[in-house]
Amino acid sequence: MDRMFPFGFDSHLAFYLVVYVLTLVVHVFLMAYVLAGSLWLSWATLFPGADATPRAKQPLARILRDWMPFALSGAITAGVAPLLFVQILYRQQFYTANLLLGWRWMVVIPVLVMAFYLLYVVKSNAVGRMSLPVRLGLSVSIAACFLFVAFCWTANHLLSLDATVWPEAYGSGVAVKSGFALPLRLLTWIIGTFPVMSILASWQLRGMRSRTAASDPTVSESHWTALFNFEHRRLGTVSVAGLALASVCAAGYGATLPPSVRALLIGNTGLPWILVVIAGVLFQIAGWLFQFRRPCICNRWLSAISLAATITLIGVASLREIIRLTLVNLDQVTVATKAAAGVGGFELFVVFTILNVGLIVWCICLVQSRNRQA
């Protein structure tokens, strides 16, 4: 491990790592939307604000309520691929952590089912007739479900990294590690979801603005412009604050790592990715600050921020794997991936990926043309 990740590894291992990281990033985008969105909705319901329109009825909250069920469905579906490849890369670590957490891990599924149905309740028209405590209860319950799932994943991941504690964890039944690593890592991910959600919601707000303005002639253009620009600024503020705080938490988590891991992170393997992440974060902050000075959101800058966020996430996911590969038995992972590479079917995957991406794009085009059809 003396070259930039993933080049310093066996070619088969590097290949699976790249596939894993890329599919994980797709999942993280949707997961971030759901987690940060649910927290935002809780906050907006709890603190309606002093405006004539309460926060929970403003465009951002409406968009989140409308799209979160789909985003959760997408996050779960997108999560299948990294869940598959983690079993190729880290079979023993992942399975053992699952088994040691036992029912505490399995409960993730019913919790997600509950969150899913509550999202549909919050999206329904019936929510408008509910009292504030009920709406607050719903929003907080949804956020609590997603936070619990985030906690379980973090606990699972950290447990999978430290095989020395497995026998004791099994014997004692205490599988969740204490110390600073878990809360700091969890906070990094939770806070880090807000910048991603802000970007996705900004794109949605752009689309919503044009459609709403066109469909409601009673509302003046200037009113919509002011409202949506306010929402964009708010998202920008959330994003900048999220990036700064997540960076602090990530640095704190880094401090909890063993010196050997830290040495690798600041060596040839990890340093380029740390620089990529820092550059990505700074570019996103600069992009949002630039947006604040403009009267309205700019497509070009939003695209640039989105690209920077994607690169940042790839960098973060790569650093996550560097840490993991330092702590697990690298020979075992190398042998496993080399063996997996000998199993056929990759060509099939490529062909059907191209076909299905094409069909997905076609579906979206069909929907985009709905105004013409109507």
Partner: protein, 508 residues
Amino acid sequence: MEPARYNDEVSGATGQYFPERYTMIDMYPVNDYGPLMPGLVMAAVAIVHVFLAQFAVGGGILLCYFQWLAMTGRSESSRIFVHGYFKVLVLISFVLGALTGVGIWFTSIQVSAPTIGEMVFNFHWIWATEWTFFCLEVVAGYCFYRYHNQLSDRTCLTLLVLYAFAAWMSLFWINGILSWQLTPGDWLTTHAVADGFFNPGFWPSLFFRTIVCMTLAALIGCVVVNVIPALSREQRQELINKAAHLLMPMLAMPVLGAWFLYTMPSDSRSWVLGGSPAMMLFFMISVGASLAIGGYAFLGLWLQKLYVNGATASLLLLLLAFGATAGGEFVREGSRKPYTVRHVLYSNGIRPEEVAELRIHGCVTNDPYPVIHETSLPNEMVTVGAKVFRRQCAVCHTMEGSNAVAHLTASWDADQMRMNIAKLQQTKPFMPPFAGTAAELESLVQYILWVHDSRPNDWRDSSESATIDQITKWLDEAGTEPADVSSRKTPVATATRIDSSESEGSAE
């Protein structure tokens, strides 16, 4: 040639690695589910998921049919049905179906990590391909769900066809992996993914499942028709009769079922057809429930002699269809015994080629996990016995709960128990051979006897050499091969089989 062993210095975890087969044999912790055996937990999740997933697949086909009826003017009320049905599909299938799908993965890990690991290892690109169809299914489904009111009929049909295609293709892919577990066919010699995927059980299983999907969709359609308030009695009658068209392929079920039975290995077929009372019972439940649905469909829906109201449809659906699905899945899972992947992995996660090795070195020698409540066990021998039970028996048995070993061995004395376990694959042909040393077998026997004796505080250590010698003799007589060895086509892997033979030789 001795298989290479490694000791994970970083983690302290242990395992074996057979470079010839490129497989990793990992030692995993085993969870105790109290009176429930892990297999029951797996069955519960699997049956619910299969039921929902098959509904999703059939639902797509049904919706395409009704959309076509609506847009061609054959049934105007179909339009109302399509919109109502899709909401049910989204709320049930997209939510519960998707999450129980992930849940089944998690449950598989809990129940038998080596089995799911083997499946993922050999078919990960097939699974990844299936994933691309999941993505298409979700996108096409949501596009229809959100925008169908704003789209032309033709576009709606296009989206529904794409949804149905993606849903059915997900069945296509997973069917190959699941049927491979029972009938791996030529894959055993070639290890080619295509041979494993298009195994002997693939086509009958695929066609059979497709018909089950259509049946479930039609029956749920009958429920939905009855709960849409906008429909009159005549419209409901018409829609139910149209939905019944998807029940007609059930006529092919007996032929497809017979085809599937024909492709099954002869020993597995014998369990289903009377060799195992439990499996026979579930097989009959599945057949009986399917016949009842088919008969009702023919009389009530095809001949239109009966009107199906919500309660009837619900009863038919929930009791009969669920019963048929549960029975069918139980038979599918159970008929693989003593394997989870035929000739590759036994139910307890031990490989056939490992047995000879474990007979020499022991199955719990490297087990780093302590026995829970170890201090309550009277001596080291019983503790080892508890570990052996955990490694070799716990996936299908409990000690005193369901399928309890204490109950199954209640009438055996100590020597009978020693001999029966040593010759396990001959005593019970659907059981794998014992995969441990004679001393470990004696430890297991002592553990069971200790439980029989109401777990006293003091227990005699019985490792007399005469006893161990007798057990060794029985183990050698039984050999390390499974009971079905005569039906075996080809050794799994030449290299490791040679290893096993050498190990056996050295044991002698």
